[in-house]
Symmetry: D2
Subunit: 304 residues, 4 copies
């Protein structure tokens, strides 16, 4: 049986829950939130949907002891209002989310949880690192969605220009799930053609596309006050790769031995979480950007 | 190709959109909202998810002319804050939603829309009736989710008592999607056994269950400020019955010739919308409640 | 993780495997067949599909030791050619399938399998009983698809007459998955109306419908040489009810304390397999048919 | 509404039908076969499954006039026994399938069909060309699955070596869906790394992998007598790209202006069928193989 837990049922957590239920992915689901009334309300809303769904999910709330045999735990806490006046800077959430970690990490540890933890909190890379340290989970078991979402946004932005399916666009966004991230254009292909060649031929400004991908989240945020669907879709996809031991390449926030920090990079996701990290031979300028972004994360993390 | 439209991308409309996209139900989707920024943000959030989904949906916004060849149009507008101080009374939204109808009905009409319209606005029965009249759509083509959701809640509440799957509970909630609704216990079976017999044997207070079903929405509302997942699941299920011409029995808000109003009752949903209404032989007390509920809707409707 | 096993990858077993893979239901799947080449070919064909599916399933073959931690095991062996000259009589497969049981039961036992076993072999009721006895599994853990398929056929046949969705038809076929089965019309409703009343009003010959449901399998068999899609769909649905502990009512072949045999009857399916049996108050003539059908199964079983 | 037709309900056609039904992709489905009993049996078997599926599909048989408003038509006819003694040579089916085209093409034409036709017959490239010519459909509208399947097999074979998800393997098999095909290794990446580099580092024999991919179908054929699941999955995926106008890159059999024949090559699939062909800059040896394979197809086609 597939058992999932979600800590933090705000917009992201609730959408993850809905996705797991409406697609019949979860057999059992535990919802935990500081606000018990919110967790209960989401449980009820999802249970009210059950009579209209072909699949069934057992939904429980607020009980950390249920995490003991949970396969995948999403940590999706956050305080989106922390971002209201600081558009473009996810570090503004750090103060809030590190308090969350201090609260939940001991409880996760005490529960005996030994599955895979997928973190969507912000600033994703630093807080995932902190969460990993505080829970005592291995670096394999604990990773963040990181640039999995930013890469999806890059694919979307590029696919718009070339009028193709986003899935025709391969390649990765590296680095921080934040300002210092970058699209590693050397890795990007459109319909199997190198985007660097295409950009040259068509006189295309890739930095403009990169900006659009980087700030895609803020465009959504400014219109609806938060982001939910794309991030939840990414988180659920990662969890499916874990449960089926897919060994799927996903650019997400995993620990880099080279740079000594969690950072967005192509990683192989399977039943143990991060099965391995793929080190692509990046050109010097991209490697420099990668190092810079990793350093940015490390610096902030050191302030903890 | 399956083409859907949604007018009003608040919590319900956005969740309907996400469901259509994440389950690959919609090939094309038009989002329309008074707040253009909200419609665009939802479009972007859903598009950002596309690279992580196996299916593809073309998503457009704000263009009524796209409704001309739309198969199913959801109208999910509303102002949930209208309910903040009037828990238990969906009529509080009437003032707000009838203004919406005055705004959108002529635009729907002008678009040449000739598909099936599914309404989730509140007060559902009266506003669906009004919307039908103002759009000039036939009574077949235009119906409301009505007690499809309340019936799901009744199934959930009953299934909890008997520790079974909500789908093991058959039968219908009739009447207004509001206070005057009632669970027609004469129609309800649990695992194939009449609930009236079971209640008698087990000394079970059915009126308590009925209250719980009736007020299930408010329990959700009080915890999360709105309801979204169950209502969206119901709306999408109705749309699927339309597209596949399923002729599926659904207790939803359709026009009753007998009572001269839209009201929640078992209806057969197919490609034309409401293919027919099923008149079950209700016992006198239930028929009286049904008439009372229909009258309640009519009276309010007459105030328009 | 959801782990499934299939013993016997003929038409039914292979279709079950394909369904589990193409719908992303299984995380891991073990295929076992007397004909190793067949098992390997199905494994390869399913693996070749993986690059085109959004989900992933690990597929292994021929290793009974993998059953130790398998959640649901389908036994779908059979020799359809045993039926070629005896249309209408599934007992013709008994000689063949009991040899299969003698072969596989000790291997299942030795594997330490302790999940739920769903049997589709024929004659379903007797061979499921035999399989349960020989594997030493509990009567809860081991059940047959039985009249779950015949009930689906009854729903289809009735829905055709009334031009509605088969899901609008509720009620059960009881008894043997074979000639002595019967549609318990007292339990059947169409759109919530008793079919006995409808039949009376519309001068409808229910025995004709019953025959059509009973012989639906042979109609398929005569055209394609075997049946596969409906039976596989039924088997998979039962397994989903197990994995999600759905406590879903399913008319399948479970052990009847009253009649001392496995026989088709409404049963509640959950994580333990058969959670309980629902004893509906059948009218005398139907109860007599039920007893007769159960006795038929018992007699044949006694010949073992 | 999504309307599909299938001509030829053998193993491939029936599996396509089952996939469309069990995943709820098709709203309406027309099955056509020379053997009316086979078509009817598959219809019945699929209809018997409907009561156990959450979605609904209207299934009709044998009526060419239904093709007039069909969105996607699969032609999946064939005579697998034509291959029994000629392992490795799909041209053996040509004599059989060209007779089929002579039979069905005028009927398709007469029906007024104007959707997209996806062909799985063998020898795929030549017979698709012939079918296109005889039906009078445009070269956009009519294409074959071609190397979409061979590419999936190459992805599988490569993913086995590197122990990753087949979806981590990008790149294409070009040419004939037959012996003269080749894996264009210059286009293939594993986890974003060029396979040519990996093969060099790891002393890997790519020609061995190529052979395994090329002959994957025969491995399946030898064990089960036909292939069905992977080819059906490929065909359905192509149809979904058409219905959602996905503009998805798929290496399938489309018309090459350069070589004057249908041949497997990366193509963009959308609502019009083949939206465009992607001409990747292949190295000289691969381009030579591509030309050779295209010439092989042209020669055989000329024998018609």
């Amino acid at each position: 049986m597939r058992k999932f837990g979600i800590i933090g049922v705000g917009h992201v957590g609730a959408t993850v829950a809905y996705t797991l239920v409406c697609k019949g992915i979860a057999d059992e689901l535990i919802l935990i939130d500081n606000n018990e009334g919110k967790a209960t309300a989401e449980q009820l809303d999802l249970q009210d949907a059950q009579a209209r769904l072909d699949t069934r999910t057992i939904i429980k709330t607020q009980d950390y002891s249920e995490l003991e045999d949970t396969d995948v735990l999403f940590v999706t806490s956050g305080n989106i209002h922390a971002l209201d006046n600081v558009s473009g800077n996810r570090w503004a959430e750090f103060e809030y989310t590190r308090e969350i970690v201090k609260d939940i990490a001991p409880k996760i540890k005490a529960s005996g949880f030994d599955g895979v933890l997928i973190d969507t909190m912000n600033p994703c890379d630093a807080i995932t690192h902190y969460l990993q340290r505080e829970t005592g989970l291995s670096r394999q078991q604990c990773f963040g969605t990181g640039t999995f979402l930013d890469t999806a946004r890059m694919q979307k932005v590029v696919s718009d220009v070339f009028d193709v399916d986003p899935k025709n666009v391969t390649g990765y966004v590296y680095g921080e799930h934040g300002e210092s991230q970058f699209s590693a254009w050397s890795t990007v292909q459109v319909n199997g053609l190198d985007i660097l060649d295409l950009a040259h031929e068509q006189d295309l400004d890739l930095s403009e596309l990169e900006d659009k991908a980087r700030h895609g989240g803020w465009a959504v945020h400014s219109g609806k006050g938060y982001t939910s669907y794309a991030i939840a879709t990414c988180a659920v996809k990662l969890s499916e790769a874990v449960l089926s031991d897919a060994k799927l390449t996903c650019p997400c926030s995993s620990y880099s031995e080279k740079y000594g920090t969690y950072v967005g990079q192509p990683s192989i996701v399977g039943k143990n979480g991060i099965e391995s990290v793929t080190e692509l031979p990046l050109p010097d300028d991209e490697e420099a950007k990668f190092k810079h972004s990793a350093d940015t994360i490390k610096e902030k993390f050191a302030t903890l």
